[in-house]
């Protein structure tokens, strides 16, 4: 039955709805927020068609923070899921659309209230990433607790249990659809999120619709084994989504997919959050600085005597 190994997965989609992303999308020929949403919804439907075990969560990220727009009923706690099942009765895509429009309207309202201070700003990518990882982690904890509980209440078998942890986890993926440029000041937080994703076995896929490549997303995909893609034809987004990002991790090994050809590994310095090619690294805590300092700003190690390693 190796052929029929369960290929269901949990997919969390991050949609960038920050003003700068929306402005950029509007200026891209053949693509606007409207068409992006349409294509995204078809992808959402296609993803849930592929496997009945597939679970989905959609988040939006704006300058004011990250919001959960939609998640499958199997992602909710049992009580809330029952309630949702009773009230629901529309397609998942409709729910996604409702959530997305709410988030976008919320962002626009916040922008207006803030007197246009958000204009041109990017999304809080680092907070969105950590929010999604927390969401995935909470799902895992709940699944583990449920498995342990089932074993206890089963009662028939011998008691005690470490088996719940051993049970195979559903593979998890993040898909980031962003159009805003990187914000170097978020470098440390983003890298920390990427490392925790790497550690918990979450794949990060990225589809960059904005101008230029995103160093953050390239590194995220590279480190977690995901795919980074900058579509040549953003107006054909659906085709990219369906043929590349709908693939689960195990099927990817059989198909030829766009690879991470060149990854921009440049770091941001810890002192001014500038992206640098060459810098100074603290020999004790590996903090990165763009200029030679008398002492490390992070751990306080004394560099006097020119001991900062170049």
């Amino acid at each position: 039955m190796a052929e029929f190994a369960d290929d269901s997965s949990l997919l969390a989609i991050l949609l960038d709805v920050s003003p700068s992303a929306v402005v950029h999308l509007a200026s891209t020929p053949g693509l606007s927020l409207q068409t992006l949403l349409e294509q995204l919804l078809i992808f959402v439907n296609a993803f849930s068609l592929l496997n009945d075990g597939n679970r989905l969560a959609v988040f939006t990220a704006g300058p004011s923070g990250c919001q959960l727009a939609y998640c499958s009923s199997s992602c909710l706690p049992p009580a809330a899921a029952a309630e949702a099942a009773a009230e629901r009765g529309t397609a998942p895509s409709a729910e996604v659309l409702k959530g997305l429009w709410q988030a976008i309207a919320g962002t626009a309202a916040a922008e207006k209230a803030g007197g246009g201070t958000f204009a041109g700003t990017s999304c809080q990518f680092s907070s969105a990433l950590s929010r999604m990882l927390c969401f995935i982690n909470s799902l895992q904890c709940r699944a583990a607790a449920a498995a342990a509980g089932a074993e206890l209440s089963g009662g028939a078998g011998p008691s005690g249990g470490a088996s719940a942890a051993v049970r195979k986890q559903q593979p998890m993926r993040l898909l980031c659809l962003t159009a805003a440029p990187d914000v170097p000041s978020q470098y440390i937080a983003v890298m920390n999120s990427i490392f925790s994703a790497q550690r918990s076995g979450v794949l990060i896929d990225a589809c960059q619709l904005g101008v230029g490549d995103s160093s953050f997303l390239q590194q995220a995909a590279h480190l977690t084994g995901g795919i980074y893609l900058k579509p040549d034809k953003p107006q054909a987004l659906l085709q990219y989504l369906n043929s590349v990002f709908s693939l689960d991790a195990s099927t990817r090994q059989y198909l030829r997919l766009p690879g991470n050809t060149r990854v921009d590994f440049r770091a941001s310095c810890f002192c001014h959050k500038r992206q640098i090619d060459l810098g100074f690294v603290c020999s004790a805590c590996l903090s990165i600085f763009c200029e030679q300092l008398p002492a490390c700003l992070t751990c306080g190690t004394d560099f006097q005597g020119g001991q900062g390693k170049k």
């Binding site: 052929e3 078809i42 088996s163």
Partner: protein, 471 residues
């Protein structure tokens, strides 16, 4: 019967005619269920095709495969062609793959509109929404009654709930027609039937295969009715209805009064099999699909996962002891097929896999792989956490017992004797040895044997030699 040879894909490749297949590809739920019952790679190929103009050149498709995926890609394409979902054709001088037009249209429609929301136009009142535990218990009760009848040959078959007021299906007839039971020749009693070899294999199969085994027979029964002109609907519509039951998550409750006549009959039969649970509420009868319906449409993988999560009860120890925490008569009966029962407690079956018990099961046509797969699929959660789930010493020994039965191999051979001269005999032996075909020789009696396949070569050699020696 166990591994993928049963199920939706097997049914549409071997069970129905091309014309019916054409009709089936127009049915939205059937299309989704077919998609889900394919291997992952085949599903993704269809997804890539779904948004094209319908044709993609063969050269392009072959570039999809990665360096170690060419074999898999070819296999997936072959399977899709066998299902008539993809066709090879020539277009403008180059070879192309074409996706089945109506299948593509249905797939696109499902993707664009979100198919998995059905006729939930009217929701049942709160009182008519049963607890998940009740649903599960009903499904188990009906299905186990069927299996128990299969094992016991007598006893009661599962009955349809009386409130549906519909003719129930003849379970015994169904099982006999499916070749799972046969009329007992010795007793000559009308109502008595015994389980067959296929029946035993059926018992050990996973739930998905079992369900499809029964549903397949049920559908061919419907088809026979339709061709007799005795009512019965279109087969494709019936299949679509069955798959529709399992495909809609959460909001798939049906109001019995709103169904058509043909659907009402099928729904009543599915209640009898445990796929639907009828609940009265608000002056109407509501039909709630159970776990079995989801397994039927789930394409095999989801079904197995469900079975593993809910029903794990078997622990196999490396000393061939089997402990099964179960109160179900069916599960005990299935285990007794290949495990010697030592102790039977109210909630525990203790047995041993012995040479006798295993060989008797092998004699019933069950393979060692099926036995090991059964033990693995129904492993207790604590046993399932071990690697391997079934101790390798036990699995290997069962395999060895199977090989023991086939230690002797029969091949037809040809024996030559009564040679006219010693010289002719020696020459024949030499020739046979050169052919690598000498199975046996006896110089004293001047006899030799070669495989029957090489008789022609030996005969021409002997004739030539005889002519040369002037015999």
């Amino acid at each position: 019967m166990a591994d993928g040879s049963s199920g939706l894909v097997a049914f549409i490749t071997s069970g129905i005619t091309p014309l019916q297949l054409e009709r089936l590809f127009v049915q939205p739920y059937a299309v989704v269920a077919i998609l889900r019952s394919l291997p992952p790679l085949a599903r993704h190929i269809l997804l890539r095709f779904s948004c094209t103009g319908g044709t993609v050149s063969t050269a392009t498709v072959s570039t999809w495969g990665g360096s170690d995926g060419q074999g898999k890609l070819a296999a997936a394409l072959e399977e899709l062609e066998a299902l008539r979902l993809l066709m090879q054709a020539a277009c403008k001088g180059q070879a192309v793959y074409t996706i089945h037009a109506s299948f593509q249209a249905q797939l696109r429609h499902a993707m664009c509109s979100g198919l998995l929301v059905g006729h939930a136009a009217t929701l049942p009142p709160r009182a008519a929404v049963p607890d998940a535990a009740i649903l599960a218990a009903y499904a188990r009760q009906q299905w186990e009654a069927l299996l128990l009848y299969l094992v016991g040959g007598e006893g009661t078959t599962p009955v349809a709930p009386p409130e549906l007021q519909a003719a129930s299906i003849d379970i015994r007839g169904l099982l006999v027609a499916a070749g799972l039971m046969a009329k007992d020749e010795r007793t000559q009693r009308q109502m008595s039937a015994g389980i067959t070899q296929r029946g035993f294999q059926f018992l050990l199969a996973d739930l998905y295969s079992q369900l499809w085994g029964v549903v397949r027979q049920y559908l061919s029964g419907l088809e026979a009715q339709a061709s007799d002109g005795a009512g019965g609907g279109d087969l494709a519509v019936a299949i679509n209805f069955l798959l529709c039951l399992g495909l809609q998550e959460g909001c798939n409750v049906m109001c019995h009064g709103q169904l058509g006549n043909a659907e009402k009959a099928i729904a009543a039969h599915m209640c009898q099999l445990g796929l639907l649970l009828p609940v009265a509420g608000g002056g109407e009868l509501w039909l709630h699909p159970t776990r079995l319906a989801a397994v039927l449409a789930g394409g095999g993988r989801g079904g197995e996962a469900v079975a593993a999560q809910e029903d794990g009860y078997v622990i196999v120890e490396s000393n061939f002891r089997v402990y099964a925490y179960t109160t179900s008569a069916v599960q005990v009966a299935v285990l007794r097929v290949f495990v010697r029962c030592d102790v039977l407690l109210p909630n525990l079956f203790v047995g041993t896999i012995t040479r006798d018990s295993a060989t008797s099961a092998l004699g019933l046509g069950i393979t060692s792989e099926q036995m090991v797969a059964f033990l693995r699929q129904h492993a207790h959660p604590r046993a399932a956490a071990r690697v391997p789930t079934v101790p390798s010493v036990v699995a290997d020994q069962i395999r060895l017992w199977q090989q023991e039965l086939t230690r002797l191999q029969m091949h037809s051979a040809m024996l030559y004797d009564k040679f006219e001269s010693q010289e002719l005999y020696i020459g024949a032996v030499e020739h046979a040895r050169q052919l690598g075909a000498l199975l046996f020789r006896c110089d004293k009696r001047m006899q030799l044997a070669v495989p029957a396949a090489l008789h022609g070569a030996m005969r021409t050699h002997l004739q030539e030699r005889k002519r040369a020696l002037g015999l």
